[in-house]
Symmetry: C2
Subunit: 375 residues, 2 copies
């Protein structure tokens, strides 16, 4: 499904395309997160026309609980359910089981958990998360993994990685002997674990590569470790991943994180940061971060960045945006969410242009600094 | 500012146009309510392009408290503040003082009230609400009035009406000797009171007509009285209003209310119902009301009304809309709010077409029944 189009000369940045039955994706790419079948506060029309999203992400854990597999299958999968005909990636639910659900009983067979909504008990196995993602009909599905916290002892991370590997093998086998439900092709990505231990990362990378997934993710980062360690492990890890497979760094990150990790060889990203921070009044721009709740915007009767292609920047003065967020107006959440995602996708497009024009090397350290300013 | 274009033959329905410096308005018309400078959950782009709003309403009481007159004037008025270049009508704040604020001290001079936000004390007078609306820069401003509750004794309503009349005279005089701030023309509407007492309504209508406002509103209805009384008083009241002035029925109402009151000679409406009910999961359609929270929609994997020009009807299956509202997803509020306003404006357009084609008389009783069904 992946074609490597170009490798940058002085960094590990790559240009590529992902082929899916719902369309082609230009990488490096950021995937907006649509937890419950909706990218929060943003309409599908705006995702396509304003944000220019090429692919979005759905959360298996959340969608399995609400609306549930029966309704999802009757709806024709997540594409039919949410009226979205571009590519979708779904995670396996592993991360949410460990971070959101109330009780966890982790055995060789799978993970038993209680719903965070009503306390009901459920079991996720490497096989049934494939089945659920068959029902979701995502273009790319993820294997079930265990994601250890940071910091974690070597022995714990090694044992956890072993479980993830055995689950990966079972998940891959189950994927290969089951069929898509809705006529379009589905792909499966493995997830490399190993925490911040390089020998484990190497071992996990080689193991996951041996199962011949259509793509490989780096899991277990951005879970609390310092940023420089995240960069160091990402750098190390991509050295041990096959060149001909797309590389997805899960749950990352800030605009600067995306730029740096592209330089370290990453092709795909997802993160709730642009939408979650938007709802708290933080917006990301090409000139830095803005806290729109800050009193200094109250009297700023100007557009923030009239040449930037988001509604917030082009149409609304900052005094108005400040007023909307301070007054809890829903339009405030809509405009900041729409803006942040427009910016994230704009940034990825810039990155692709810079790689294409052989200017990425000079451009990226400057841009990393610029987007991390506070304005 | 008003041109009467056509009178229907067998009802009191009228076609007309309102001229403002921000554009022409075709009447009968419904005005979406943008309390705090935002029509809740709807963007200015969608108001223009999807809802086809010709004019929106802002609330002086709310905008005076937040963001306040200083910021509003620095922003160039409400048009500049919210990035809206079509017509705006603002109320005087009278209704909100009596319904929202904590303390009320009603004297000849004006009304003293405490902010519902922080308890701060403020005084609204017939003169200073003109000044505040000069700062808002609305195309149409309303006079300060007292709106008695229902039911209310004759003597109380008569006395209250007397106060409203004296305030109207002062407000009109102040309007005539002050100038717009921003270069565009402003118009002022009087408000007829008199409760449900016909002799008072007649007296108030004649008094307000004598002050030669650019338009006249019927206030003090839709405050709890039965619908048939609201219709009866509206019918009586329009008989006593000059033909050459636009007639605005404040705070009304349901789709059926709008249809009936057009037949009784009303040109302009506003109401929070389409947006407020949307947020509670009630949508209005040409075939009746829908409670999208109802469990029956959970398994309805179909569009509600694929030929109706709203995103909710055309793009999203009802099972998805149900899921969004039940899951408290912001997109649910956006889609239902956008739909209800699209429907209200669509209904007004239908009404104008029917009047134009001399078919209103046959069409309207059937349509009133149809829109009040429960589906």
């Amino acid at each position: 499904m992946y074609t490597l189009r170009k490798k940058a000369a002085q960094t590990k940045a790559r240009l590529g395309t992902l082929q899916t039955d719902h369309g082609e994706i230009q990488t490096p790419i950021f995937m907006p997160v649509g937890t419950l079948g909706s990218v929060k506060a943003v309409s599908q029309d705006d995702l396509v026309n304003k944000i220019k999203a090429q692919i979005i992400l759905g959360n298996t854990y959340h969608l399995y609980l609400r609306p549930g597999n029966e309704i999802m299958q009757a709806a024709g999968g997540l594409h039919g359910f949410m009226g979205w005909d571009k590519p979708i990636l779904t995670d396996s639910g592993g991360y949410q089981i460990f971070s959101l659900s109330d009780i966890r009983d982790l055995k060789e067979k799978g993970a038993t958990f209680q719903s965070h909504l009503d306390g009901s008990k459920h079991l996720f196995t490497p096989e049934n998360v494939v089945d659920t993602q068959r029902i979701l009909g995502s273009d790319i599905m993820m294997i079930l993994d265990e994601c250890p916290p940071w910091p974690a002892e070597y022995d714990y991370v090694k044992e956890s990685m072993g479980l993830t590997h055995r689950w990966a093998k079972r998940g891959r086998e189950h994927f290969l002997k089951t069929d898509p439900i809705y006529g379009h092709k589905q792909h499966q990505f493995g997830i490399v674990q190993g925490g911040t231990y390089k020998d484990l990362r190497k071992e996990s990378s080689e193991f996951m590569a041996s199962l011949d997934f259509e793509g490989l993710a780096i899991g277990g980062l951005s879970v609390g470790e310092p940023t420089d360690i995240m960069y160091e492990i990402t750098d190390f890890n991509t050295d041990h991943l096959p060149e001909d497979k797309p590389r997805y760094l899960m749950g990352v990150g800030t605009p600067a994180n995306l730029i740096q990790c592209v330089a370290l060889g990453i092709d795909m990203f997802d993160c709730v940061m642009p939408t979650r921070n938007a709802r708290n009044g933080t917006i990301f721009t090409r000139n830095g971060r803005v806290n729109v709740r800050n009193a200094k915007w109250k009297h700023h009767h100007k557009l923030l960045d009239p040449d930037f292609p988001s509604d917030l920047c082009r149409r609304y003065n900052m005094s108005y945006i400040h007023h909307l967020i301070k007054s809890d107006e829903i339009l405030g959440l809509e405009l900041t969410s729409l803006h942040n995602l427009t910016f994230y996708l704009w940034l990825m497009e810039q990155i692709r242009e810079q790689i294409k024009n052989d200017t990425f090397q000079e451009w990226y350290p400057r841009m990393m600094e610029q987007v991390e300013q506070r304005i």
